[in-house]
Symmetry: C2
DNA sequence: TAGATTGTTAATCGATTAACAATC
DNA sequence: TAGATTGTTAATCGATTAACAATC
């Protein structure tokens, strides 16, 4: 074997995580511009909206291709579509919510996920008094149904909103079911195997870093 | 004046924001160790818990002082107290919640803020059918009372949970009242003057960066 | 075409890590 | 004291920014 075949996935060179994390913000801004009827935007204008240097925007985009026209800028609709494609946002992602306590209920009733293509397709909880309830249009199932649900609905993302004491074991089960993307609402960073992605929503951590600046009379940057 | 006097605030050289943002995680881990009865921990052990190199932990701490003993490590209770002091977590912070819709209600009923020293002392909303309601033990006030409330309760942090269309104007009013730390739950990055700190809780952005890895068959790092 | 803005390279900046003398 | 681990400096790594040739 003197030559290697191209790989199916991962043609791109390693894109820094920090770059990937900015792309959704670009999508947001471009969507807004599109809804305002703006047809063309240059990196300068995008940078102002996003508080990012134009150079950084161009550099970020250059990891994925050439989307602009010299002397003009970017077609808003075109760049938006390209970025959605790159991020996988042109399809609907099915999401299971594990944990239907106060937080889980708020999540299941939050109308902000669906318009962005995240469909909450299942709600699971192990509390017998909660199982069977209707929450956010879904019937709460026992967590033992997780593997079934994942297979049946092609779930690829789990939102975990269980008490801190159960978080790690629930995350373990979610991972066992083949889920590779987890949004965790407990104030803990669960351990997961290589290749599984966890993001935590942790308002207290955010507050605790802001108090540093309040207590010390300085502002960030 | 050939000599300048020491400043009241900001004796420390500029601590990078990324360092400040890690301190609350150290506090979390140390609290947990303390509750487990662990008395001494070294940077190696802390690093394992936090998935951070020991060198980084020592470097981070060195911005603020010398808290360990060579050959031993750190006394958990001592380091915890020092970090709480640095972050201003040894006092209670009064917080006003603006916006008492579904999200605001969930926030007001979330029991996780108080144990960490964030006291929700007021709930405000401009919807006449919401004003006067009892939510999370508080009577909802009209937003026009904001300045009063801030002064009376010494509020220094605002949690803003209003619809996206009102977010910027509510943030503007919050800033006018002298608030310098804002936790924003709307899917938008509000513009604020220099010196005001905004952190956004935005689960959709988190999901949208995870789909990149799902769609492209790669994992982060 | 002239003017403008991209895409990209090189320079700069800053954060992380390695290494080790200091010291408990 | 010998062994261990800190605190800190210097080396490395990576991300941001500046600059400019390419080109629309």
């Amino acid at each position: 074997m003197s030559e290697s075949y191209p790989q199916v996935f991962q043609e791109r060179p390693e894109v820094p995580d920090v770059v990937v994390s900015r792309l959704p913000q670009y999508v947001r801004t471009l969507s807004q511009l599109l809804s305002e009827g703006v047809q063309i935007a240059n990196s300068q204008q995008l940078g102002e909206k996003l508080q990012i240097t134009p150079a950084q925007i161009r550099k970020d985009l250059s990891y994925f291709g050439r989307f602009g026209k010299q002397g003009r800028g970017y077609r808003v609709d075109h760049l938006l579509e390209e970025l959605k494609q790159i991020l996988g946002l042109n399809v609907t992602w099915n999401v299971a919510v594990v944990g239907v306590g106060r937080l889980g209920r708020a999540i299941l009733n939050y109308p902000g996920f669906t318009p962005d293509g995240f469909q909450l397709v299942a709600a699971l909880d192990d509390n017998p008094s909660v199982v069977g309830q209707q929450v956010g249009g879904l019937t709460v199932l026992p967590v033992s149904h997780l593997a079934d649900v994942v297979a049946r609905y092609q779930v690829s993302i789990a939102i975990v909103a269980v008490p801190i004491a159960y978080t790690q074991q629930v995350v373990d089960r979610v991972v066992e079911c083949g889920i590779q993307a987890i949004l965790n609402y407990a104030p803990i960073m669960p351990q997961v195997p290589e290749g599984v992605n966890v993001r935590s929503i942790d308002p207290v951590l955010s507050l605790q870093s802001m108090t540093y600046y309040l207590a010390n009379g300085v502002s960030p940057e």
